[in-house]
């Protein structure tokens, strides 16, 4: 028997459960996910469109550059006669520079300088000169001229003139052989 005075707290079970609430929650979540997905897809398409657009922009720029290059090449081809002249001149100046710089001590310069040292009475017996070697034999009429020659050599700018030989002929002519390094 149930005692009416005794109040009992019944813990009933909601048979419906939280189904409507959860369903609403799920629906909401589903809607958010769906929207987000579409937004992401939309953004992705925009980005993809941007990438494709950039690609086409770059391609058009490349075409412009190719066309510009082609025009420049045609312009250069039109100036080929001037380029030929320039190449002709440059090849010759290069060669001339090589020739002129390759012989710092040309034999003719050395010859002129050594002969300038010789007294007026001296005559050449023999000269043999080539790059790196210079030998000269001078005939001198007397010892005073020999002495004059040696003095002018000592006063000269040459740092190495060697006396290779000094002889006197029966006729009293002195022959001085000098080598210049």
């Amino acid at each position: 028997m149930r005692n009416p005075s005794v109040q009992t707290k019944t813990h009933g079970i909601n048979l419906a459960g939280n189904a409507p609430l959860e369903a609403a929650k799920i629906n909401k979540t589903q809607s958010v996910v769906r929207r987000t997905s579409f937004i992401v897809l939309g953004v992705y398409f925009v980005v993809l469109l941007g990438v494709v657009g950039t690609h086409f922009f770059f391609l058009s720029q490349e075409r412009k550059l190719i066309a510009e290059g082609g025009q420049l090449r045609r312009d250069i081809a039109g100036l080929s006669s001037i380029e030929t002249l320039l190449e002709t001149v440059k090849s010759r100046t290069t060669v001339a520079t090589n020739i002129l710089t390759s012989s710092p001590q040309a034999p003719e310069r050395l010859l002129a300088e050594v002969i300038r040292l010789a007294p007026a009475e001296a005559s050449i017996a023999e000269v043999n000169t080539q790059e790196g070697k210079f030998v000269i034999s001078l005939n001198l009429p007397d010892s005073a001229t020999v002495s004059e020659l040696f003095k002018s050599i000592a006063d000269s700018q040459f740092s190495s003139i060697f006396l290779d030989g000094l002889s006197k002929t029966t006729r009293g002519v002195y022959t001085v052989t000098l080598s210049v390094q």
Binding site: L41, F58, L79, S80, L85, T93
Partner: protein, 238 residues
């Protein structure tokens, strides 16, 4: 108190319903993945490749533009004159005969008697040029020979003395001399450099050299005047 708690396992339908929620995000993910792999990646690769090519074209065009401007700025008349001067100094064909002519003229002017001449074409290219060797034997006074040798510096084409040998006899005013010379020539350019090859204008050193070349004097006989018609009447005057 007795609680009737019955745990219900999700049914297949419930699972199906729940998984349906993920279909759209999954499809979006798949679409993004597929498009990224197929379209996006190749687009990105193409963009980078195109950008790289563009950079190359830009560099090449800058070179081409610089070359075009350099060539356009050059004065054809001055350049033609410079080419003529440089061709006299370093001819486009064997320079031996021209050099010999220049030396002979100078020797003649100084009463130097040339007794023997040897001309030889050197094989190969030395220092970017072909060489012609000239060996001269001559007789003359010392002053005249020294003057001749000194004067060869102003001869066109350029000659380089490689050996001098002189022998004098006691009591004789003349000397016998052997002179070994080299003269140089370079063929005309047959091919121009590629269009995208940078080109440099003549520098100060080149211009100074050309000014020096202008001072060189050509020997008589380098330009051959056509002989007047002889033996036949001119058919055009009749």
């Amino acid at each position: 108190m007795q609680l009737n708690t019955e745990i219900k396992l999700p049914t297949r339908e419930a699972l199906k319903s729940n998984s349906r929620h993920f279909i759209i995000p999954l499809l979006v993910f798949l679409v993004i993945t597929v498009l990224s792999v197929t379209f996006g990646r190749s687009s990105f690769n193409n963009i980078f490749a195109t950008r790289e090519r563009m950079l190359q074209f830009k560099v090449e065009n800058a070179t081409l533009s610089e070359k075009r401007n350099t060539l356009a700025e050059l004065d054809r008349t001055i350049l033609t004159r410079q080419a003529q001067v440089s061709l006299l100094a370093v001819p486009s064909a064997s320079s031996g005969p021209a050099a010999l002519s220049a030396i002979r003229t100078r020797a003649f002017e100084r009463n130097i008697n040339i007794t023997e001449v040897k001309l030889s074409e050197k094989q190969g290219v030395q220092k970017g040029a072909r060489e012609t060797g000239i060996i001269l034997e001559f007789e003359g006074g010392l002053g005249a020979i020294i003057d001749l040798i000194d004067n060869l510096k102003t001869a066109a084409p350029i000659v380089k003395i490689s050996k001098i040998k002189m022998v004098g006899a006691e009591g004789l005013p003349t000397l016998s001399a052997d002179l070994d010379l080299l003269t140089f020539w370079v063929g005309l350019p047959t091919n121009l450099p590629a269009a995208n090859q940078p080109i440099a204008n003549l520098n100060q050193k080149d211009l100074e050299l050309i000014r020096e070349m202008e001072k060189l004097k050509i020997g008589v006989g380098q330009t051959i005047e056509p002989a007047p018609p002889a033996g036949k009447s001119d058919p055009f005057t009749e």
